[in-house]
Amino acid sequence: MSEHAIEAVGLRRTYRSRTGWLRPQRREVQAVRGVDLTVGNGELFGLLGPNGAGKTTTIKLLNTLLIPTAGEARICGFDVVRQTREVRRRIGYVFGGDRGLYDRLSARDNLRYFAELYGVPGREQKRRIAELFELVRLTGRENDRVEGYSRGMRQRLHIARGLLHRPRVLFLDEPSIGVDPVAARELRQTVADLAATGTTVLLTTHYMAEADELCGRIAVIANGAIQALGTPAELRHHADGRQVLEVEAYGVSDAQLALIHALPGVREASVVVTGAAQVLTVQSDAGVDVQADVLRALDGVRLGRVTARRPTLEDAYVAIVNRVDAQARPAEAVGV
């Protein structure tokens, strides 16, 4: 038995695509640019990053759906390119969204089919399927067609499907996407239960809070490369020496935001819309009091509550990801 569940060295993947028939344009996207990763047995590991960061591509390189352009990866000691079948026997893959199930079949038929496909022995199937319906709390709805399922129920069925063959390593790609908050909480509970039974889980998400709650270690990925890696507590240090100002506002313009960004001592500034209000978050060096300057820049805008607070993990994440954005991005498309 290998001591690591997942090992990746220098993993890269470039997508090549052609568009147009008459004047073919070749496009190259470097989705993953050199990822090194080691995940121990039984770990619950988070891959956190904004959309397009390369999370899904990384997962597909590890679960044998894609062949890397360069680099190597092993799952439980088996090479993902050469020992595909050994790897597949040991992994489960679950992705978020509505797709990936047979809608016109019942939940039970879906599981039966995949149990056959994934080689669960016939005499064990019935028990295993009942057990999984129990685990994902779908008992009682087994014989309903999947087309009548809610988003959250589908996602739980998806997880049951991924667990049929008792995989050692489970890949969860944004499982909570589009799931309502209550269902998302249940989902997190299911994932936590799983990890408690010793299954290694690689979870991708773009919700900081989800990663913080579930994962022992987190890798922040942006622009196809890992930007920071560590426990939630360690990642929080990336915001050390900073303080955060939160201002509730109504109608902050882009120009004003740019102005605030340029103020001395200000490191990050972003606006999130919550209902009718905006929340302006400003990260600044701890030694500099920027509050007066910020409020002056917001002259004429109706303001709500103003709060100064210590940085959270979320702020650390923003700091890490924005650091990457600030660097000049290498050209992505090459015309031929």
Binding site: Y15, L65, L66, L117, R161
Partner: protein, 252 residues
């Protein structure tokens, strides 16, 4: 595993409203087409042959659109990645799907015969009912295996639909499903001879009309199909790797 897979896929296919509508209308059209073609040809005695031919066309259409469409559908549903991830040879994963399409196609054969009887009073007297009862499933299984070869192209190509559309009618013709092969230009002969559809159609027709020995034709049909299966399996393994390199298993 193949049986369970084929059954469940047939279930999934047969519950699609589009498939149901097609399955209701197409046999009527085909039965009518067959009847008029043969009436115009002044051979009313061969109506049964016509109806059987039309039914075979239905099975072929189902396999062709099925094996292509099924792969395409799986891509849309996001299930293509999930089934390809199974620790199995990819051919074994796809074969149940193509078998399922042939299975649902059988319905087209039965429906065409039923409509022919109902609307046009075609007598359903088979020269050799037993042979007919064996030849039809034999033909279905072999078409399912042939479908695997087709399906391998669909796993790789993201828009293989154009290919399906161009393959429906030529194969009807060349295999002599509707028009006797002897009525076709000579150069089509060799093409027809290597297609399992030709031999399958011939076996089914012979069983229905008693125009010749059934078993040799059925044997050749199955032999060619097994060869297709072997070739398809090789192709599938190769194609699966290519698809992983080219990232065509998913939509985007």
């Amino acid at each position: 595993m193949i049986a369970v897979g084929a059954l469940l896929h047939a279930k999934q296919l047969s519950r699609s409203p589009f498939e149901i509508a097609t399955a209701l209308i197409v046999p009527v059209v085909q039965a009518t087409l067959a009847v008029y073609l043969f009436r115009a040809g002044g051979e009313p005695g061969r109506l049964l042959e016509a109806a059987v031919g039309a039914g075979l066309m239905g099975i072929w259409s189902s396999v062709l659109f099925g094996s292509g469409g099924a792969i395409q559908n799986q891509r849309w549903q996001g299930t293509l990645e999930m089934i390809m991830l199974a620790p199995r040879p990819p051919a074994l994963v796809v074969l149940p799907i193509t078998l399922a399409t042939a299975l649902t196609g059988t319905y087209a054969m039965l429906a065409t015969l039923a409509w022919g009887r109902l609307l046009y009073g075609i007598p359903l007297t088979f020269a050799d009912p037993l042979a007919f009862a064996v030849a039809v499933p034999g033909c279905i299984i072999s078409l399912g295996m042939f479908g695997l070869l087709l399906a391998s192209t669909f796993v790789l190509l993201r828009n293989a639909n154009a290919l399906t559309n161009t393959m429906e009618y030529p194969i009807w013709l060349v295999s002599g499903m509707l028009i006797p092969i002897t009525a076709l230009p000579g150069w089509t002969g060799p093409i027809g001879a290597v297609l399992p559809t030709t031999w399958g159609a011939r076996a089914v027709r012979e069983a229905a009309t008693g125009s010749g020995p059934v078993w040799p034709s059925l044997g050749i049909c199955l032999a060619i199909s097994v060869a297709c299966l072997a070739l398809g399996a090789l192709m599938m393994t190769h194609v699966e790797r290519r698809a992983r390199a080219a990232a065509t298993l998913a939509l985007a």
